[in-house]
């Protein structure tokens, strides 16, 4: 019986997701603000239908599933009201979007291992508190002032700390352990780095700022290379290139940096064995299907077996993919609710990116413009890098799918990212009123 329900459920799931996306389009492009309240309703229905289905997947009803769903919804509703009343955020669309993705993530994390979902819910609540933290703490900070020295030094300190005391997880030495908790400093460094580079470049693209910014990015990428954190290196560089491209009237510094990146990538291919094996696994996935390419080919099998509609929630075999709950969660979702759902998830993430870019466009201060641009590009690039990776369009680099993948550090950093976008854009409008 469960199978029948699950087969029917995937139609409902895809339908809900599609309606959610269409409403987003209507609000964002056609300014139909009155549709806004429907978004949380759809998200909550989606969460309840999925968690409800998961709770009856075995013979005994699993109340943990339902309570995880309830916890998520409470978190969402309470936070939404607080954002509206307390922080006076008038453009709630971004928050609704992230929560839909969070809900989808929690559903599949629960399906893969309930423990992940419960932990992830706690991190989401922690992420919510960050909003207040940032809004009240940064209120007095003037972003136009020069904080570059402090930011730059703290980034360097964090990189060195990770290098010296780092712990190795999944082959990358980019984790720190504090009071028994493990976290990934690079996730938070991303955000600080965007602010730092934006502040440096906002002083105008002259020789000095170009030199400082390019030297900083080189140092950061060198550390990531040492820590075998390919994904971070790639994302940092891509975001830096985007910032440079937008701020600099001349095109050749951007081109030169891009060329330098290519040269470095080529050099690292010959220098580091692990990069070489990643590239080989990407070029000949079927040749190395049993070793180097095992992970990505298992991901392709999952996506291929799903088809347009998927096998149905809990009816696929996503656990065949190693690390499915972090890097490869997209493949798990595609296997069970189909490529159509996968496409809508991609479109939702592109909406988040585009809304952020629009914030950037509406800013008057250069530094605010660059911060918004950097933060939203970060989400966009990260999505492209991981989805490109699980589809074997590019080599796999081991980054998370924003808001969906499991990972405390990464979820917190992405929530802070959205929060800062709100903060900067609201500060801008507030400043102009004064």
């Amino acid at each position: 019986m469960f199978d029948i329900l699950s087969w029917l459920h995937r139609y409902i799931f895809i339908f809900l997701l599609a309606v959610f996306f269409i409403i987003n389009i209507a609000i964002y492009f056609y300014n139909k603000k009155f549709l806004q309240p429907f978004l949380p309703v759809i998200t909550i229905i989606t969460a309840f239908s999925c968690f409800g289905l998961l709770s009856i997947s075995s013979e005994n009803i699993d109340y943990h599933g339902i309570s995880t769903g309830v916890a998520f919804c409470l978190q969402y509703i309470v936070m939404r009201i607080l954002l509206d009343r307390l922080l006076k955020i008038n453009d709630i669309l971004l928050f609704d979007l992230t929560n839909m993705l969070l809900a989808i993530g929690l559903i599949w994390l629960y399906r893969l291992n309930p423990e992940y979902a419960i932990k992830q819910t706690l991190f989401a609540v922690l992420g919510d508190t960050m909003y207040f933290f940032i809004f009240f703490l940064l209120k007095k900070v003037d972003l136009k002032k020069d904080y570059t020295i402090y930011l730059g030094l703290s980034i360097l300190a964090a990189l060195i700390t990770t290098q010296v005391w780092g712990v190795e997880v999944y082959g990358s030495k980019n984790w720190l352990e504090l009071l028994g908790y493990r976290f990934q400093p690079s996730e938070f460094l991303k955000i600080i780095f965007v602010i730092y580079i934006s502040m440096v470049l906002s002083k105008g693209p002259n020789k000095k700022t170009l030199l400082i910014s390019s030297a900083s990015i080189l140092v950061a990428v060198a550390f990531f290379a040492l820590q075998r954190d390919l994904g971070s290196a790639l994302i940092f560089f891509a975001v830096y290139l985007i910032l440079l491209f937008v701020i600099d009237d001349k095109i050749y510094p951007t081109l030169a940096s891009a060329a330098a990146a290519l040269v470095m990538a080529a050099a690292s291919y010959f220098l580091f064995g692990h990069i070489r094996s990643r590239v080989e696994a990407w070029l000949n996935p079927w040749k190395y299907v049993s070793d180097k390419s095992f992970q990505v080919t298992q991901s392709l099998f999952a996506i291929a077996s799903g088809g347009l509609l998927g096998a149905g929630l809990n009816l696929g075999y996503p656990k065949y993919i190693p690390a499915v709950h972090t890097d490869f969660i997209f493949s798990a979702i595609c296997e069970e609710v189909g490529i159509l759902s996968g496409i809508i998830i991609i479109l939702l993430l592109s909406m988040i990116t585009l809304i952020g870019l629009n914030y950037s466009k509406n800013c008057n201060e250069i530094v605010n413009k660059l911060i918004c641009l950097g933060l939203s590009s970060m989400t966009g690039i990260q999505t492209l890098v991981i989805i490109g990776g699980v589809l074997n369009i590019i080599p796999i680099t081991g980054v998370t799918l924003p808001f969906v993948s499991y990972g405390g550090s990464s979820l917190l950093s992405q929530m802070i990212n959205i929060c800062l976008l709100y903060f900067v854009s609201m500060k801008e409008t507030g400043d102009s009123h004064e």
């Binding site: 996506i303 088809g307 490529i339």
Partner: protein, 462 residues
Amino acid sequence: MNKLSKKLNIIKCFFIVSFLGIAIYLIIFNFFEAKYIYSNSYNKRLRNENTYIVRGDIQDRNDIILATSKISNNSIKRDYIYSRHFSHVIGYHSKQIGSTGIEALYDKELSSAKILDTIKGIINGKEIKGNTVKLTLDKTLQVYASELLGNRKGSIVALNPKTGEILALVSKPDFNPSKINANWKNLIEDENSPLLNRALDGLYPPGSIFKIITTSAALYGNYKDYEIDCTGSSNVNGYEIKDSNKKGHGNINLNKAFTLSCNSYFVNLGLKLGNEKLYNEANKFLFNKSISGNIIAKTSRFNMKYDNKSLASQSIGQGDVLITPLHAAVIASIIANDGMLLQPYIVSEIKDINGKTIKSFKSKSANVIIDADKAKTIKEMMVNVVKSGTGKSAKISGIEVAGKTGTAENPHGKPHSWFIGFAPAEDPQIAIAVIIENGGSGGSNAAPIAGKVMKKAISVLK
């Protein structure tokens, strides 16, 4: 400021294009690649048994059942009725080992039924039979071809040149798909690789059957009237190429050289044509390209070379030129079909349990590979090969046969014996490729088998 906004728009466009690109890629992936990826033997899903659905049947073109599921003693057994004769093409399905062939490629269709039927079955607690996959193969022809090849290593591929339907696809040595679990260890250790589907995945030097392509290049390059004096051997930069006729063929033109398969002539012709022309012609005839159409074969190889020695050996199908038997049959079918190619395919229909068609397949519109008049010229030469040349033993009484023999030198001992051709020449019903590994000369070993299979095909298909 304005410039900044412009650049921001460029970044926006970049993201929109990339995201939409991935979305479109996913759709393309689903419709064109997913099936082949899913059927890979490393996909553990192929070993899963669907709890509600009994695997469906596989039928030949006349609805004769080739594989079915039998329920005995409360367990379901996969029954392969013509056992070894279809071992590679249909493949096997096993919980322990996985699936291959049609069983893997059409695993999803075989192990699913219409959703309403499935739901009814679950509610009533009854087992439901999965969809039926109907093939283009002809059971009689397949069994006949398989028995003819017998214990010899090699492959036979027969197809209908006008439709692209594959009529027979034999690979030897074979195995018993019903006993795959018990024999697995011996099968993978067997140095004759009985599990390899030679018809699709065997890459062989084509030898003289490649002269069809060299001839086509000559017709396009206006070398139709090129003549040489054959002395029995030629020497190109120290590479000695001998003819089967040691005394030499004397003064010889294209038609005669093709009929007698004169190596000296084609080596000199190849040198005249040059590397680029020969390479382009090979690509036109689908070398270095995948042959698609609901079946996957290895890609045949023809590398671009820049020296005369390689060119000389390539123009007679030696050197590093490699071809699959399926591709060889496709080349015969292109000439048979006046230069037009219909992609070969093997599954014609997916049917539900009531016999209603769910999906049907056909080869898409024909591609012109070479002009009709050039194809006709080659066809005449191929008729001469069987009438008075190297392929005499492929003759069928009362029917005009066209063909080309090949004797391919290889590093594994005696030369491989090739024959490709079609019949009847004026209105081709069947195109065929036969290869016998280390079988010696093509004319004396592959050609008679090809003749018999073509004769049988014409009588069976009537």
